[in-house]
């Protein structure tokens, strides 16, 4: 486990973090409503409750750093700089979507801002982030590759192979495990022989750190240190963020029978937005709130009014020419 260091964050910085978390929250809430309204054609996994993780990590990244994400990727996309309008349009299947309607919730691509893709398959993002690290090192840049993934992915072979390679080759990469205690309805404590993900870093000879994933400042600080290490040739870091998804695994799915109401309430009481808001002036919070509301409303209108893609484009770009 490593120690985080550095100066306390300014109010402006904290407000910016709050703003990003709020964009994610409000966008997700809008998506949830849109799902009920039948505007989303496929799956929709929200990030509600986990906003501090993407926000705290991505605040340390540049646009040319590469993020690889999961089925639960809206938050990573937004924190990395994807416009809520382009995200919503994607889930609505529109040509203006971030993936031009090809992907939906689980396949978000915005290489322009370093969102190199989310994946409907659990695991690959870990390897791809290591690969981005390889590329960045080979090409002598100081860019870093970042993987976000769930606790469920930590039991997958990709975790083992990816972390080991990143460690032996000292690749500039961050492995951010969002341990929300469940993979769909299966508790991590039941599927992991050792449910402390950060501790597993020892098996790879890599620094590992456990942070409160609902505390955006803690996440930010841990990521800052890891990013600095990566950029300066110090190699990869595993960061386990303990957090919680407060909505169902995916929209429209039942959310009962596998976790207690008390547990959900206890985590809601530790809502990452609430925790940060308590440290900031109410006026500022209110201002951000109305700004974000306007942005998300506009995004929704944009998405809803965007055209569907032309079926004639359904087979383009299978190959590079």
């Amino acid at each position: 486990m490593t120690q985080t260091t550095g100066k306390p964050l300014t109010k402006e910085r904290l407000l910016a973090l709050y703003r990003t978390m709020l964009v994610i929250r409000r966008t997700e809430e809008q998506l949830a409503r849109a799902h009920q309204a039948g505007l989303i054609h496929g799956a929709c996994h929200t990030y509600v409750g986990e906003e501090a993780v993407a926000t705290g990590v991505c605040a340390n990244l540049r646009a040319d750093d590469a993020v690889f994400s999961t089925h639960r990727g809206h938050g990573h996309a937004l924190a990395k700089g994807v416009n809520p309008a382009a995200l919503m349009a994607e889930l609505f299947g529109r040509a203006t979507g971030v993936s031009r309607g090809r992907g939906g919730s689980m396949h978000l691509f915005a290489p322009e801002v370093g969102l190199m893709g989310t994946s409907g398959i659990v695991g690959p993002c870990i390897l791809q982030a290591a690969g981005a690290g390889y590329s960045f090192k080979l090409l002598n840049t100081d860019r870093v590759g970042v993987a976000f993934f769930g606790d469920g992915a930590a039991n997958n072979g990709a975790f083992h192979e990816g972390l080991n390679m990143a460690s032996i080759w000292k690749l500039p990469a961050l492995f951010v495990c969002e341990n929300n205690l469940y993979a769909t309805e299966v508790p991590f404590s039941q599927s992991a022989g050792n449910p402390n993900v950060a501790e597993r870093s020892a098996a790879y000879g890599m620094p590992g750190v456990l942070v409160d994933g609902n505390n955006v400042v803690k996440v930010y600080e841990a990521a800052r240190e890891a990013v600095q290490r990566a950029r300066s040739g110090g190699g990869p870091t595993l960061i386990e963020c303990r957090t919680y998804r407060t909505r169902a695994h995916s929209e429209g799915m039942r959310d009962a029978g596998y976790r207690s109401a008390d547990e959900v309430e206890a985590w809601k009481a530790r809502d990452p937005l609430k925790l940060l808001a308590a440290q900031l002036p109410a006026d500022d919070i209110a201002a951000v709130e109305s700004e974000v509301k306007a942005q998300v409303d506009a995004a929704y209108d944009f998405a809803r009014n965007s055209p569907y893609p032309d079926p004639a484009t359904a087979t383009t770009h299978v190959f590079s020419e």
Partner: protein
């Protein structure tokens, strides 16, 4: 007769087999107390508990390899993938271990393992949840590959799968899972390698259509349209693609002289190519026209409804393909 959904029909076969044979166990993500993402195991956990209904970590390669070892040592695993796409991480285990074990041990080891999962394009599931891999499994020696298209077939073929000692890929098209149909209460098994002539052509019938999985319903819809114009079509559902009942297809072709294969998945090296290749090898003289294939586009599956619709055949394109073939 009683009607059941496709999923319920297969579950009935599974439940009956588990009641009889304590060596059967099921693995998968959420197939325990949750009863399966598609209700494939609903109710069984309460009866049999975690040793027989085992929720797994997200470790597809791992649990297939584990099931291979279990099948080699006296157990009968059923692997429930939810979406079959997740099987790909386990291709090494499947192709090099599961499929080869009986051969390499010269028949001394058995490999009674049933691998099931939903396949196919539909419902904006997008490219990581829309795969159809049956042509690949039919290419590799050692697998039985089953593609039921009705609840009746689902139960009868699942029963056969559970009783044999071979690895079986039991592939359930996602658009069929909730379709209903008559399913007898009794315990029947449909042998592998027996195609079903789903719609018999009349005397004047001049075209045979082979349609697989979800394409069957669309083909029958197309045939209803064509019937209005007095056009008769013979429709065959192979039901299993390995073994493939080519004889039934060739019998029909002998009668009609024309063959179209309607298959949602990719054309190149697909099961449609195999059927066409066997037709031109064994029945050239019966062919009054080229053998045609109507396939999904050779592209990953897009999400947005108009894009998704554009990459797979539908009743209208099937109807047109039949008309075109008849015009040859």
């Amino acid at each position: 007769m009683r009607e059941l959904t496709y999923t319920a029909a297969a579950r009935e076969a599974l439940a009956a087999a588990m009641a009889k044979d304590p060596s059967i166990f099921v693995v998968g993500e959420g197939i325990g107390a949750r009863g399966g993402n598609f209700n494939t195991t609903a109710g069984l956990y309460d009866l049999y508990g975690p040793m027989r209904l085992r929720d797994t970590p997200i470790a597809e390669r791992g649990f297939i390899g584990l099931c291979a070892g279990a099948a080699m040592t006296g157990a009968r695993p059923v692997v429930d993938f939810m979406f079959l796409d997740f099987i790909l991480d386990a291709m090494g285990e499947l192709i090099n271990q599961v499929a080869k074990m009986q051969y390499m041990s010269d028949g001394r080891l058995k490999m009674p393992i049933v691998l099931r999962g939903s396949v196919g394009v539909g419902g904006s599931a997008a490219t990581h949840h829309s795969g159809n891999y049956y042509s690949i499994f039919a290419h590799i020696p050692g697998f039985r590959v089953v593609l039921p298209s009705t609840p009746y077939d689902a139960k009868g073929l699942f029963n056969t799968a559970l009783r044999g000692d071979d690895p079986v890929m039991f592939l359930e098209h996602k658009l069929l899972l909730n379709t209903k149909g008559p399913v007898p209460e009794d315990d029947y098994a449909i042998p592998f390698g027996q195609a079903s002539v789903v719609r018999e052509g009349g005397r004047d019938c001049r075209v045979t259509v082979v349609a697989l999985a979800a394409m069957l319903r669309k083909t029958l819809d197309a045939c209803d349209q064509l019937a209005k114009d007095g056009i008769s079509v013979e429709v065959i559902d192979p039901r299993t693609v390995a073994p493939l009942d080519m004889d039934t297809i060739l019998q029909s072709l002998h009668k009609t002289g024309r063959l179209l294969i309607v298959d949602e998945t990719f054309a190149p090296c697909g099961i449609g190519a195999e059927i066409a290749a066997q037709a031109v090898d064994r029945a050239l003289d019966d062919l009054d026209a080229p053998v045609k294939r109507l396939n999904g586009a050779h592209t990953p599956t897009p999400y947005s409804p108009p894009l998704e619709a554009a990459v797979i055949p539908n009743a209208a394109t099937i109807e047109q393909a039949i008309r075109d073939l008849l015009a040859e």
